[in-house]
Subunit: 202 residues, 2 copies
Amino acid sequence: GIQVFDDIDALFRASARWPAERRLLAGERGGEQIEGFDLGNSPAECTPARVAGKRLFMSTTNGTRALERVQRVPILLTAALTNRAAVVRYLLQEQPHTVWIVAAGWRGGFSLEDTICAGAIAHALSVERDSDCAGDDEAIAAMALFEQWQSRLPQLLRYAHHGRGLAALGCDADLDYCARLDSVKVVPLQVEPGLLQAAPLD
Amino acid sequence: GIQVFDDIDALFRASARWPAERRLLAGERGGEQIEGFDLGNSPAECTPARVAGKRLFMSTTNGTRALERVQRVPILLTAALTNRAAVVRYLLQEQPHTVWIVAAGWRGGFSLEDTICAGAIAHALSVERDSDCAGDDEAIAAMALFEQWQSRLPQLLRYAHHGRGLAALGCDADLDYCARLDSVKVVPLQVEPGLLQAAPLD
């Protein structure tokens, strides 16, 4: 399971109650791994061998803050370009009446990588349901972004403000990993406030 | 000339100092023509015969507020899909180092019609300068929106939240007018704070 925290002190307190050999602290502030943590925010570090059987205590600058804001909704999933198809499959399986896609963004503002991920999900739902552009103004714009760039995702991530920063730090492998649409089958589902576990897929 | 006001009382005070036969009051709040005004916000009403030789005193819910916020910049133009090419021509003539495109939006938030107009301008500048995706995250997303929908602008305006409202009010002619890319040659340029006049084009 992954337990997410906006507040780092709360994360340290909660993780201290967990056996040391079965916990990992993961996260970043402003892109840098947090002091005393085991992992930063690089997906490449999270190998199955390293995380298997352990609880991940996680805090990121934008993502965990967004998760706290919406933790009371009936179904809460986390999505990336990598698990897009699995998320869509889960949504089609559950058939919620309304889907809100919350972009964590970048320091409270717009981010290209989150918007294209939102567009990828909305696009797939649109295609599945054969509905032409159901969604609000933001969803329509996000879908157009995805449609325009879907065959050039690694390039788009490198044009993004955040991606330019990562590329400058030499994180090309992370960028390429994040651009691998539909490559991961896991859907993290909130099972209690702040605790995410892999959702069961049919 | 067009004199723009965020505050309606200030508009009434300024227009009262102008000869009645040489002034027109134009604008809306929440889409409705303002009480005591001569015109609403429909471009179809602004025929040359009606506005020729007159000063337009104007206030809109979103547009004039945005104009007040940025009235101290060195060059301030107003743009729509209709005068996109003329605005781009003026920018290429003036060669400013940086171009900020400010979307008036919808009640402080995102609007599809303003974003696609911003994307249309950024796209044309990109093509002219042969630069691939110069611009921030928002500009890249706006350009993708324009590229995806440029051949179906009337449809996109009708998918937009604001356009759906106008279509429901029977304003189809206004929507079709607003979707006519590059059809108008006039570039309104701020010549003193709040006062717009047609910019000279080479």
